[in-house]
Symmetry: C2
Subunit: 165 residues, 2 copies
DNA sequence: ATAATTCCAACCTGAAAGGTAGGATTTTGA
DNA sequence: TCAAAATCCTACCTTTCAGGTTGGAATTAT
């Protein structure tokens, strides 16, 4: 009784903004440039202050590094192909488990786990979700995005430049 | 900016309690008996008043029917094999979409859906989740549960009676 | 110096999760 | 006929958290 947790694969703004920011950083990874929070926030039409807090989480998790001062900003610490979205979401939201009793590490808050009629379902769901999250890399996402932009531009008869800022 | 929605496949208590209650009802379906809220709530160690509110949602959705008065209670309106957990969760939580922009029916709250770098990922995730939710029936869950109980009882050297109440 | 940036910490707000209380109505059966 | 067992119904309460703001200190290139 008295359970409290809105957690889950909730895909709150936290997770969504953070992931999109990471894709933006992935697109800039080759160039070696840093990207400022202002630029990232502007690209998504969101508050700089709010995005900053997500980036801090990503930095703590070691996924991005920062440079202060003029021309400062953020860049990925690893190549996009070695960063999967599962890591990113975990950095941003703490967990990606839909209920506590399927969290491999802890086995808390479920007294009767082994006789629970719903647990097999939760496990199956969790497995499918983990599968997608852990197998999708930032590079995959960046490529999808590039292709999408090129497609849109080709329909508009544009030259097809897809860049940030 | 300013997004507000804790929705998602959040697996709150609402969804979890409701689903487990439905499994209990599924186990009693063959007998034709109704099961009271008191019994259902007791089986999960939760508040009757709180579970009642979930059952009301399930009734509104046409998944259960009720009988009032002494010996009253609830029973499924259909055979467990024709009720999937997706329906149940939708009845309890309203939606099972992880973000609005992957909701097939509405296409709201995402101005730049077609150029969103994260949308392909959300779509993939959503598809996996829907797949599990819509392909798992109450009957599947009841069978899993029965098997589990029998297994536990056999290890205890019991006769293997798995019943409610 | 100063402008652009990251860094940091506190604070605010509304909505929803999770839960409770209490009574009206219906039905069975002693 | 009346009491008990149930659903039905509505209003309320409390805590947490998503989502966001504010303001300033520290750092760094020009």
């Amino acid at each position: 009784m008295n359970e409290r947790q809105g957690r889950a694969v909730k895909l709150s703004t936290k997770g969504r903004y953070g992931i999109k920011a990471m894709v933006d950083l992935a697109l800039e990874y080759e160039s070696g440039n840093t990207v400022s929070i202002a630029t990232l926030a502007h690209s998504q039409n969101i508050s700089e202050a709010y995005l900053e807090r997500q980036i801090v989480s990503l930095k703590k998790a070691g996924l991005v590094e920062s440079a202060r001062g003029v021309f400062g900003g953020y860049r990925l610490t690893r190549s996009p192909e070695f960063i999967n979205v599962g890591e990113i979401l975990r950095a941003l939201e703490g967990k990606t488990t839909i209920v506590d009793c399927v969290d491999g590490s802890v086995m808390k808050s479920c007294d009767n786990a082994c006789s629970c009629s719903a647990r097999p379902l939760w496990l199956k769901l969790q497995a499918r979700i983990d599968d997608v999250l852990n197998s999708t890399t930032l590079q995959d996402m960046a490529e999808d995005y590039d292709a999408q932009i090129k497609f849109i531009n080709s329909k508009k008869g544009d030259t097809g430049n897809a860049s940030l800022s």
